[in-house]
Every structure is written in C-alpha cells, then in structure tokens.
Amino acid sequence: MKVYLDNAATTMVRKEVVDAMIPAFTTYYGNPSSLHEFAREAEQLLDSARKDVAAVINAKPDEIVFTGGGSESDNMALRGAVAANKKKGKHVITSAVEHHAVLYTLQAMEREGLIDLTILPVDEYAVVSAESVANALRDDTVLVSIMFANNEVGTINPIAEIGKVCRDKSVLFHTDAVQATGHVPIDVVEMNIDLMAISAHKFHGPKGVGALYIRKGVRIPSLIIGGGQEKKRRAGTENVPGIVGLATALKLANEHMTENAVKVGALRDKLLKGIADTIPDVKLNGHPTNRLPNNVNYSIRYIEGESILLMLDINGIAASSGSACTSGSLDPSHVLLAMGLPHEIAHGSLRLTLSEFTTEEEIDYVLDLLPQIIQRLRDMSPLYPKQK
C-alpha cells in the first residue's frame, strides 16, 4: 500500500487542474502581451484566473500578482515593503516560527543593513499573539510579517487581530498564507491584510506558481525587473498554464472547503487519537484546536525523526519530520525549539499531513504499522528506559 501523508510539503495536482492547464500549453499558448488572437485568448485565461483567485480571498482582481511560487511571493513582499518605506523607518517584526522563505530573507536583509529585525517568541502551541505584536511596534516599524498557519505544526495565528493592530498603527502587514490558502477561510479585507503570499502546489495546484496579494494603494517595487507584465509589478512572460492551474485548484479547494475540512478533519482526529491511544510517550505539537484540519504532528520520545521516516517509507508511507526543505539537514526544527521543546524531543517529531484524497483505509494502515515501527526503533535506542 502506498500512503501519501506529506501534503504540507506538496500535493498531487488534481485531474481537473491538469485538464484545465493542457489547452494553455498546446492551444492558447500565445504570449498575453502580444497583439493577436493567440495573445487575447491567453490574456482572457489570465483575467479569469485573476478574478477567481481574488474572489476566494475577497480581493479585487488587480490586487493579485502572479509569481513563481510561495518563496518568491514572500521575498517580493518583504523586500518590496521595506524598500517602499525607507523614509519611514526600517524596523520589521516577524515571528520565530516563520517559514525560511520569510525568516532567512529577513535575516539576510538584516545582515545587509536594510532592516532592524524583531523576532517575536511564540507560546507552547506556536501561536503569535496580537499583544506581542502590539508591544513590539515602534514608530519606525514599517512591516509586520506573521504567517497565517504554520507549515510544521499547523497552528493558525489570530491573523484578524494582528491585522487590526497593524492597521491601527498604519504599519504594513504581510502574512505568509502558503499553508492556509485553500484550507481555511481568508478574507483580506476583514482581516486587514496588506500583503499575502500564496503557493499553488499546497492545494492540489502545480508547483512553481504562486501569487502575491497586494492591497490597492500599497505600492512595492518589483523583485524581478524587465517587461511590463502584471502591471509592471512582476516581469517575465506570464506562466499562463500554471496560473490557470493555480486558479482552478484554488476555486475547487474553496468550493469544497467546509466539506473537506469536516472529512479530512475526521480522519485527522482518528489518526491523532489512534496514535495517542497506542503509543506511549508522545506529545502533540501545535495548537489542539486552532490548527489546520489536515495536520498531525507528534513528538515521539526516545527516537529520532529520520529513522521513523525511513521505516515508514520502507512500508510505503510518505511522511515528514519538520518541514520538507530542512529534512535533509541536521538541525532540529526551529519551530519546535521556538515552542520550547528540548533538543532531543524536537529531533523526534513526525508530521503526517492529510488531503481530501486520503482514505480511511490508509489511516488504518498507518495506525496499524506505526506502533510496531516506533517500538522497534525504541528497542534500539539507548535513551529508551528499560522494562518500560
């Protein structure tokens, strides 16, 4: 049996999305900037994709800029917002549990002397509170960047509250919503969001395409300079098939959001409970209720994450430990450490992330295997207390 439980890393592109993309590869392949029928067809695809994406987050179509992915959207938002506000100041606030596309970018900008950076701590559930943001704001604060939902532990932040705090002080608020978009409701107006990063491959769309919501009135320079595409906000021939894929996937995710949250949430709860019931010495990471419906993250004492992944993989189960991009590295998750976990426990985390394509049989299979795997590895571990 093959079980894919690494949907926070990336998702399968759904059939409807591939079907929607194919005509843009082979028939409506014109460059939208050209002046002819092929170009107009491509432009219409772009326009309708932009409308669809905007509608899902309650934005206006021209507030959506399509990019080459979530990381590019984050980089563009951060560098752009800081460059546009040089005169006002250079203080930026973020949190300790951000994705590296935000954290490393801001840290690089700090090293380049472009910003003064405040990295807010989080509570034991990885929540960033609106109060901590409010307390960190200074007269020279130009940007607050707090993620919508955490990619490792699934915790959802109080984005509307943080947005309000920022708007009240006229400070730009960027949120990395790469994990949240298509999974939980987002209203950029109600939540007072100024900038928001989206990535298609996290909701059954294609890799290599994303979007940045830029609220009307917020002007930021381009990260990629050249042709006048995307109203001069992002140069480069538009990735029409990818953009169509992003929009199709997001529209579908949105239409079935409630129903999927219930369905996926039920399987997730079964998995959560099953693990807690059959495996001793485990600790749930992330907020118990304010979390993405598809996220399970446990620390499993006495053993190390990679070994668990390898054992699962041998048995056909795809999972992860921390985030995908750092799973090759030796450091334990910066998210778990920021939540206060000791190093040796942070090393032993297991993230299982479901999708609407996950079945109950798959969950049963995992619940059947996991206890044996854990026991086997524990029996090998010098940390595991004997006779336990």
Binding site: S307, I314, G328
Partner: protein, 126 residues
C-alpha cells in the same frame, strides 16, 4: 539518498542490544545533536571481541554505521578493532551522503570509546 547497503543495515541492523556486565561500554554523541551511539563489548582472555552489541538514537545513517561497525570488529582482536576508521565504515556501506559522514565518525569513536573502557577496566583489575 542512501545506498542499498545502508538501507540493508538500517532495515536489518546486526547486533542490536546490550551486553550485561560487558567488558567495555562506549557511549558517544548527545541527544541535542540528534545522535547517540552506545557500543557494548564482550572480550575474551585473548583480547578477541567475542561479542558486540549496540544501541543507537539517530538517523538511518547512524543506525547503519553502528551496525556495520559492530560487524567489522566482531571476532577481531582489540588491536585490530582499534584500527577501524570512519572511512572504512563508509566504504563498507558503499558510501554515505556528505551530510551523514559525521555518523561514521561517531561509529569509529563509539568503538574506540568501548575499547578504551575495556582497557581501563583491565588495567584497573591488574
């Protein structure tokens, strides 16, 4: 990412366990870095390693290098075992990813620590 040999030793680790009242025990690494290896030796009067067991907390490479290292020294004399190098362990495993070479170093260190422990005990007993 791992060679077949590494995966074989990870899936079917040789010599897992502990030895009660071992001749020597070596423990290296720490949980903070994500790897702990423990090697137990049973050494006979001719200084031949009669039996060896290990316990490891760590990644796939940590398990495989421990397993391979125990295989490589089992039946060998203490002097021979002291000559084990991390490079030899890596070679025996048909390679390790660059980020995992430190595991082979740990395995070498664990063997040496266990032998040192044995020697210390032996010398004290004299």
């Amino acid at each position: 990412m791992y060679t077949e040999k590494v995966m074989d030793h990870f899936k079917n680790p040789r010599n897992v366990g502990e030895i009660e009242s071992a001749s020597g025990v070596g423990t290296v690494g720490n949980a903070k870095c994500g790897d702990i290896m423990q090697i137990f030796l049973d050494i006979d009067e001719n200084e031949i390693i009669r039996d060896v067991k290990f316990k490891t907390f760590g990644c796939g490479a940590a398990v495989a290098t421990s397993s391979m290292a125990t295989e490589m020294i089992k039946g060998k004399s203490v002097d021979e075992a002291l000559k084990i190098t991390n490079a030899a362990v890596v070679e025996a495993l048909e390679g390790l990813p660059p980020a995992k070479i430190h595991c082979s170093v740990l395995a070498e260190e664990a063997v040496k620590a266990a032998i040192e422990d044995y020697m210390k005990k032996r010398d004290e007993a004299k």
